[in-house]
């Protein structure tokens, strides 16, 4: 038998790796294979989905750190788990470990093929049920169900890859609620079950005939797998019942029948593992005890896999609900504090149109910012968060102040944005623009002022325009400090330029330009 040599090979790995670099190299190669395949099969599609539905992150208000952790878990988790599983198997026998690795790779390759086929045929959604997996895959591939099942059977005969693939699909592919998809008849299900059993049988028989050792190993494990499948199926049923009845039953929900099935499944698993251990290893008592404990743990872990997965999903769902409720409360509180208060004020002041206009516009601005602002509610950000000071934000704030003070409408439109910085150039620009708005509000005799700012690579341009009275720029009284000091002087001090265009009767436009170059050298 191979046991002695394989244990000899396995022990050094667990005892500090005196096996040298070749051993480490093999381990690394195994891990890399798993890593690459898992990357294609698990991580990439997940990212694909996550990228298409940012709601997930919005709802959770996930920050960069959360997303990084998620990415790390997604990328490293599956291959690490598989690799650890193989390492545990490797403790028992090196040959078994190789078989496990081959199985894992075969399963991942199969998934990859399916994933590719899915992408190529651009079919969305995975309407798969337990024992409707083949049907679901067939739907995707657009071929007859029978062919897919035959393929599963054929693959099952080849070292059991089909069984693994089927199991993986069933466990990891999200089910949809029963009403979403077509009926799967009992006959179909029976047929599928029969084919699956046939596949397992063929696989086991084939393996046993080919190689007695493999047969010895796979046989008991096959029994264990059947047991696990029975339990998993129960978990699946519980989930479906939950959908149909709407009741939240526990993991074991479903009465005596379910308990029986789970116990039966558990016994299967335990028996399989025990037979496997007894049959394959000539162990001392202590070693046997340790391995039995390990095997039990693995068994429990395997049995509870679907529960973990569904628990995580349900937990996510509940959390989402909670967050939605909290959001609603927050919206209500915000509306109460702002909009209702303002409406009350407006009712009181209804005889003063100017004041009504001012209140309404101020409230509108506030609500708009809360909803659509850079860190606003509608962007999934935290409205209470402090934003960095940017040109667009500063212009918006200045426009708001002017609106409040002079009861006019100022609509700032900005294209591009950049931080205000410390050197004062852009701050001066904003203050000059503010002064231009004040002038328009005071002297133009209009109720609306347009502000347009464009941030280009080397220059920022701001235009403040009104369609009011206008004036003759040459005839401006030199005593008018607003234009002379606040606008011209301020801009000139920071290397900016001011161009003024005004035609009596048609309005005024102040064009302020500031180059970035200036600031970068002084910064």
């Amino acid at each position: 038998m191979t046991i002695d040599t394989s244990r000899a090979a396995a022990e050094p790995a667990s005892a500090g790796d005196p096996g040298g670099p070749s051993r480490a190299k093999t381990e690394l190669r195994c891990f890399l294979e798993l890593f690459v395949l898992c990357g294609f099969v698990v991580a990439q599609p997940l990212f694909d989905v996550a990228g298409r539905s940012p709601d997930f992150f919005l709802f959770r208000r996930a920050g960069a750190a959360d997303i990084l952790v998620l990415v790390a878990l997604t990328v490293l988790g599956p291959p690490l788990l598989l690799w650890a599983g193989e390492a545990v198997v490797g403790l028992i026998s090196g040959r078994l470990r190789r078989v496990a690795h081959l199985l894992a790779v075969a399963g991942l390759l199969l998934l990859l093929t399916i994933e590719l086929a899915k992408n190529l045929t651009s079919i969305r959604g995975w309407p798969l049920l337990l024992l409707g997996v083949a049907g679901g895959v067939a739907d995707h591939l657009g071929v007859d169900v029978l062919w897919v099942r035959a393929a599963f059977v054929a693959l099952a005969a080849a070292n059991g890859a089909g069984v693994i693939a089927y199991g993986l699909l069933w466990v990891f592919v999200r089910q949809e609620a029963a009403d979403v998809h077509r009926e799967i008849t009992a006959k179909e299900r029976q047929q599928a079950m029969g084919l699956a059993a046939l596949g397992i049988g063929i696989g086991l028989a084939g393996a046993a005939l080919q190689n007695q050792v493999v047969g010895w190993i796979v046989g008991p494990l096959g029994v264990a797998a059947v047991g696990a499948a029975v339990v998993w199926r129960e978990a699946d049923e519980a989930q479906r019942r939950r959908w149909t009845s709407g009741a939240r039953s526990g993991i074991l929900g479903g009465g005596r029948n379910a308990v029986l099935r789970i116990v039966a499944g558990g016994i299967f698993v335990a028996a399989g593992i025990v037979v496997f251990l007894l049959g394959n290893l000539g162990l001392g008592q202590l070693q046997f005890a340790v391995l039995a404990v390990l095997a039990t743990l693995v068994g429990v872990g395997v049995l509870t896999v679907p529960w973990w997965i569904r628990l995580a999903r349900d937990f996510g769902e509940e959390r989402r609900q909670r967050i939605v409720t909290a959001e609603r409360a927050e919206i209500a509180a915000h509306l109460h504090d702002s909009v209702l208060q303002t409406l009350a004020l407006i009712q009181k002041q209804s005889q003063d149109p100017r004041e009504v206009q001012r209140l309404a516009r101020g409230q509108e601005r506030e609500l708009r910012h809360w909803l659509y602002g850079p860190s606003g509610y509608g962007r999934g950000g935290d409205p209470a968060a402090v934003e960095p000071e940017t040109l667009a934000g500063a212009l918006r704030a200045a426009a708001g102040e002017i609106e409040d003070t002079y009861a006019i409408t100022v609509n700032p439109v900005t294209v591009g944005d950049r931080p205000l910085g410390d050197d004062g150039g852009l701050r001066a620009l904003v203050l000059a623009a503010r002064e231009a708005m004040v002038n328009a509000a005071k002297h133009a005799g209009v109720d609306e002022v347009s502000v347009y700012a464009e941030v280009e690579e080397d220059e920022v341009n701001v235009f403040v325009r009104d369609r009011g009275k206008g004036f003759d720029p040459d005839a401006v009284d030199p005593d008018r400090h607003g234009l002379a000091d606040s606008v011209h002087g301020r801009m000139a001090r920071h290397g900016g330029t001011v161009r003024l265009r005004s035609t009596p009767g048609e309005g005024t436009e102040v064009h302020l330009a500031m180059t970035h170059h200036e600031q970068e050298t002084s910064a």
Binding site: L371, N411, G416, Y452, E454, R465
Partner: protein
């Protein structure tokens, strides 16, 4: 007041889930200003289904479309009506200033976008202008489009230059629109005819609707509309 000229009024259909707002717009538009070609409000709808049925039945020339409504909003109306009745012109009317909303309805096929705070007179003008085949760009929409087409360092290269890039002239026109200039003023500023300005704006509208630029498709897909 309808003027004495024998001009057939432009038929307008109102879609908005706020009855109060519909009533206000109807009153404003029907009152109109003396001398302007008259507008006739032929119908109203308060939901997507009503709107689709009403537009199909009444065949208005212009639809004033609210962006935010239950059951999919303006985008849903656009998606359902446009294939059936390509002649109907849509003008989006919304309180929202969010780029996603604006770009989504424009890409859905609306020929213009104005905010609800627009004055009655300007709204009437906007309706007439879209009816005549010209787009209506509010300064904010012009800003969004400029932003979307701007060449930032690190931006993906244009796939289809015909659609993904603006010409210098189009950029100039958009800038002036964003600064609050009317078509006539833009024509004067750039020494071109109003007709040419309209051609440029139409071309910008076409690019906004059809371009595959990342910014535009992202804004559109944020509202589940591509």
């Amino acid at each position: 007041m309808t003027s004495a000229e024998p001009v057939a009024p432009i038929t307008v259909f109102l879609v908005d889930d706020h009855g109060l707002f519909r009533a206000g717009v109807r009153a404003e538009l029907e009152r109109g200003a003396a001398g302007d070609p008259p507008l006739e409000i032929v119908g109203e709808a308060g939901s997507v289904d009503e709107a689709v049925a009403g537009i199909g039945h009444l065949k208005p020339q212009v639809v004033l479309l609210d962006v935010h409504m239950p059951d999919g909003g303006g985008a849903a109306v656009l998606a359902r009506v446009r294939p059936e009745q390509p002649d109907v012109v849509f003008l989006a009317l919304s309180v929202s200033d969010a780029a996603e909303d604006v770009i989504a309805v424009i890409r859905g096929g609306a020929r213009g976008y104005v905010t609800k705070t627009i004055s009655a007179r300007e709204l009437g003008d906007a309706v007439r202008r879209v009816r005549a085949g010209d787009p209506v760009f509010s300064p904010r929409l012009a800003g969004f489009v400029l932003d979307a087409f701007s060449d930032r360092p690190g931006a993906a290269p244009a796939v289809d230059p015909e659609l993904d890039l603006l010409t210098k002239r189009e950029r100039d026109v958009l800038r002036l629109l964003a600064r609050g200039y009317a078509y006539k003023e833009i024509a004067g500023e750039l020494f071109i005819s109003v007709k040419t300005v309209e051609t440029h704006v139409s071309s910008v509208l076409r690019k906004t609707q059809l371009s595959n630029r990342y910014e535009l498709s992202r804004w559109a897909s944020d509202r589940r509309l591509v």
